[in-house]
């Protein structure tokens, strides 16, 4: 029996100890009319060899592509050591570290993670992670409303990832929180302070500030952070952690810095794998730590005064507070954070800077090549990190289809999320792209675009 070790002799002895005649008898408290008939849609079991063959066939069917899609999930090189260590059974098959003395490995790692993230994001404290970037934003909004106390309004620019905005709405609308969307400048692709003014007449709990924004454009974070703080509201930063190896971290935006900073941790050593599992990170100013949801690890001492680590501030959490908890969240994305911590340790500050800088440089090189093609131009004038929107001389869906036939995933069709943006393609180049890759993309796109001249 797969993964069940019992011999016939074991079963006989166990039933004798229980005093039952059969295993079936152990289910005698379940009303017989509820007992299930046969399963009709579960196929018969397979051996490891057969399932291995099936999965290899399916994986090969999906194959590999030269990928230029970003849009919230980014292809970066992941050192071999990251997942070899992460999938060690002691990390892979352990539980949430409630028994601190038997979980010092996970707990210390999480404390190191919190330290690295707080520093990278430029904030005081970090939790041990949330599900993903989108849910982290929703949790940040709930946190801001709890903190602000008088307003239940959240201002969100349309330059924030469109799916994040949907998730935010889906989660916070249950608690009568209003999400107000702010337009962006169609020339620069940024939220400009003058766009904000009309939305600030009424009180609001928080302004969400993306950096880089969904279009890959860098926002004028100092000005809009100060604007929101002048209105006595909180600022929630949504950032790409990789970009912060180059960019001013949220804790230093404007005169006071952002209050809460969240985002998608996937660029830090997590494979794309069709969208998950990734991890959401959440960092904040010290004075907000008791409003923060999720697991938090603290350093303390044992009875012999030796340093050690525990889950702390548990009085915020559902297993203690039940209906009065800060959130219903029960887990973090432990294994993903394990990978991210090892990733950041292997890269170090200089490695991370180089990955970010090379991604940025590759984007610039790609744009330079593509803008030489007739009819291709940058959609927005604002500065970019490693992703850029391009206006093309023809319909994006057809062009992407033609690129795919050449085994290139050319980017994201922005019209899927912004109906007004026709013929607009968003492309991303990370450090994984070589000069040959960029040239190949430009050459093939050039051939495809000939028909639109």
């Amino acid at each position: 029996m797969p993964f069940i070790p019992h011999t016939e002799e074991d079963v006989v002895e166990m039933l004798a100890s229980i005093g039952a005649g059969s295993i079936e008898e152990l289910f005698d408290e379940i009303p017989s009319d509820l007992k299930t008939g046969a399963l009709t849609h579960v196929p018969p079991g397979m051996g490891e060899m057969e399932i291995s063959r099936l999965m290899h066939e399916r994986a090969q069917k999906d194959g590999f592509y030269l990928n230029f899609i970003g849009a919230g999930a980014y292809e970066h090189h992941i050192p071999a050591a990251v997942w070899q260590i992460t999938t060690r059974g002691e990390f892979y098959s352990s539980y949430t570290p409630y028994q601190a003395e038997a979980s010092q490995g996970t707990l210390q790692l999480l404390y190191e993670y919190q330290t690295m993230m707080a520093s990278l994001i430029g904030m005081d404290v970090s939790n041990a992670s949330l599900y993903d970037g989108a849910t982290a934003l929703a949790e940040a909004a709930l946190m801001a409303v709890r903190q602000h106390k008088t307003s239940r309004r959240i201002l969100v620019p349309r330059t924030v990832h469109p799916v994040y905005r949907k998730v935010l709405r889906a989660i916070v609308s249950n608690q009568d929180i209003e999400v107000v969307e702010i337009p962006f400048c169609p020339e620069s692709g940024q939220v400009l302070p003058e766009h904000l003014e009309q939305f600030g007449k009424e009180e609001f709990a928080a302004l969400v500030v993306p950096q880089p924004n969904f279009f890959g454009i860098l926002e004028q974070v100092d000005a809009i952070t100060d604007w929101a703080h002048d209105k006595h509201s909180l600022v929630i930063a949504v950032v790409n952690p990789m970009a912060l190896a180059m960019l001013t971290p949220p804790g230093e935006w404007g005169t006071q810095g952002a209050d809460i900073a969240v985002g998608e941790g996937q660029p830090l050593g997590i494979p794309l794998s069709s969208g998950g599992p990734y991890f959401g990170f959440m960092t904040c100013k010290h004075e907000l730590v008791r409003q923060m949801p999720g697991r938090i690890i603290g350093r303390t001492v044992d009875l012999d005064n030796k340093p050690g680590f525990v889950l702390t501030l548990q009085a915020r959490e559902q297993h203690i507070r039940r209906s009065k908890a800060t959130s219903n969240i029960c887990t973090n994305q432990g294994l993903m954070v394990t990978a991210a911590t090892i990733y950041m340790s292997l890269l170090g500050p200089e490695g991370l800077r180089r990955v970010a800088a090379q991604s940025h440089a590759n984007m610039l090189q790609l744009v330079e090549l593509l803008e030489k093609l007739p009819g291709v131009k940058r959609t927005y004038s604002g500065p970019s990190f490693h992703e850029v929107a391009l206006t093309l001389p023809g319909p994006v869906s057809d062009i992407l289809q033609a690129l795919k036939e050449q085994h290139i995933l050319g980017g994201l069709n922005l019209q899927e999320h912004y109906p007004e943006l026709n013929n607009t393609l968003m492309v991303c180049a990370t450090e994984t792209k070589t000069a040959d890759d960029l040239n190949k993309y430009s050459k093939i796109l050039g051939q495809i675009l000939k028909k639109y001249q």
Partner: protein, 481 residues
């Protein structure tokens, strides 16, 4: 020693980052980072050694018996990990077109169909990323259902007092008031309390069955009738599905919505606290509200259903499609077990629990519900032991660590004093259970002879008992150089 203490300025790994410094750069000066990052500067070997050594400070299923009640710590087959990490699966971008992911989507579609079958539900969405998110989504669908019918007075969710803390926390996140109902002496929901609690204000009832007390709610059909009669819906918390997999389908018990913890019943790894995955299943009347994306299979092609296909959906609850890699592991696990293996899971999980309960009872431990069958878990209470010796459930739990066993769940459910919730999953052998019973017997002797020693456990772990109070009072959440 922390990784930061291994750090030396200028040390780095040359192979793993771009070899040359990028030349092109056009980011405005005022947006450039000026503050250094507190990341370690260590060699690859330093990092590998440090994290390998840290891993060795963990208990895990791969190294110890882990009878953690309500968590279903069963063996996580290595094939599931190896095959979910095939390079093509890892490299696939979430926004890549569907026709470049037909292999992956086939797995997801089949998983949906399999989960529908084992739960007896009409539809499944794979998107929830953890049990608590599955609950949130489930209750959101209940709310959407009532709202779609313009049934506005339903403001309450009923929850038994034995429920997981996530249940009341979730109901509140969905804007509901929580009404707690009590449990009778036999561990069943108090039917009189339920009858008194329901009314036109009832949006639904959240229930775990078998309950967190380790017993099957015998009156489930009656409960279902009572809640449905007043127009409420029934939510099944799938935390304990391992006890009835292939035996009872929640749909047949009358549940309208369910979440399934794949990291429990379908053996995906707990990973030190996530990532999980908790697909939701719904009965016919909740189908229009399922969260997206959902995989459809039309004319031999797999595709994602979106807002256009499911206009009444409660929406999207993750940035992409949920925890794809976890779902792949669960799919591989189900295919390894097959239909016949589904039935075996609950049979042997129940056999192990009842055997362990019988043996611990014979060893002198007090069982909380001795007249009941154990489901896949059961409760030992140390109430009398504490009164006689002062030794608590937590003391015993820590002493078990010394003996090489992970502790059972302690102090949950809250209504049983000094409790240990014990769940030996089906993957443990009789010999492991016997060794655990022997360790428990040894501790019982120690409690009589050396209670102070047990109270100050653990003694043989790398660290002794940690000071939680100091941790919360003098917050130290990040290392400072």
């Amino acid at each position: 020693m922390l990784i930061f203490e291994h750090s030396r300025p200028g040390r780095r790994n040359y192979s793993q980052a771009p070899a040359t410094k990028a030349e092109k750069q056009n980011i405005p000066q005022n947006l450039l980072r000026k503050t250094p990052m507190l990341l370690p500067e260590v060699s690859e070997m330093d990092a590998v050694r440090h994290y390998t050594r840290l891993s060795q400070k963990n208990f895990s299923i791969d190294t110890e018996f882990y009878p953690l009640g309500s968590c279903t710590m069963k063996y996580n087959p290595r094939a599931c990990n190896a095959l979910a990490m095939l390079p093509q699966f890892l490299a696939r971008h979430p926004s890549a077109p569907e026709d470049t992911g037909q292999g992956f989507l086939a797995c997801m579609y089949e998983l949906q169909e399999i989960l529908k079958d084992v739960t007896g539900m009409a539809g499944v969405s794979l998107t929830p990323m953890a049990g608590a998110q599955g609950e949130l989504i489930g209750v959101m669908m209940i709310r959407a259902y009532h709202e779609a019918r313009n049934d506005k007075g339903r403001t309450e969710i009923i929850i038994p007092d034995a429920a997981h803390g996530t249940n009341p926390a979730t109901a509140v996140m969905c804007g509901y008031k929580v009404v707690e109902i009590s449990t009778d002496k036999e561990g069943n929901v108090d039917m009189a309390a339920l009858k008194a609690a329901v009314g036109p204000q009832t949006a639904g009832l959240m229930l775990t069955n078998p309950s967190t007390l380790g017993v099957f709610e015998k009156n489930i059909s009656e409960m279902s009738r009572i809640v449905h009669e007043v127009g409420g819906l029934l939510y099944y918390d799938g935390a304990n599905l391992n006890a009835v997999l292939g035996k009872v389908k929640p749909g047949d018990m009358g549940f309208d919505v369910i979440h399934i913890n794949l990291h429990k019943t379908f053996s995906t790894p707990h990973g030190g606290g996530g990532p999980g995955a908790a697909p939701v299943g719904v009965a016919e009347r909740l189908l229009p509200f399922l969260p997206i994306p959902i995989v459809a299979h039309e004319k031999g092609v797999y595709r994602w259903l979106t807002e256009k296909d499911v206009p009444q959906t409660i929406g999207r609850l993750s940035a992409h499609m949920g925890n794809a890699g976890v779902l792949l592991r669960a799919y591989i696990y189900v295919r390894l077990l097959g239909a016949e293996g589904m039935h075996r899971v609950s049979k042997y999980a129940t056999l192990n629990a009842n055997y362990l309960m019988a043996e611990l009872s014979k060893a002198g431990f007090e069982i909380a519900f001795p007249t009941r069958r154990a489901s896949h878990e059961f409760i030992v209470t140390l109430k009398d032991i504490k009164e006689e010796t002062g030794v608590t459930a937590m003391n015993l739990a820590k002493r078990l660590l010394d003996k090489g066993y992970h502790a059972p769940t302690t102090y949950f459910p809250i209504l049983i004093p000094e409790c240990l919730l014990i769940e030996p999953a089906e993957t443990e052998s009789k010999q492991t259970l016997d060794a655990f019973v022997a360790a428990m017997k040894e501790i019982l002797v120690e409690i009589q002879n050396q209670p102070e020693m047990v109270k100050s456990a653990p003694h043989d772990m790398p660290l002794r008992k940690l000071d939680d109070v100091k941790a919360a009072r003098e917050l130290d959440l990040t290392w400072k150089p």
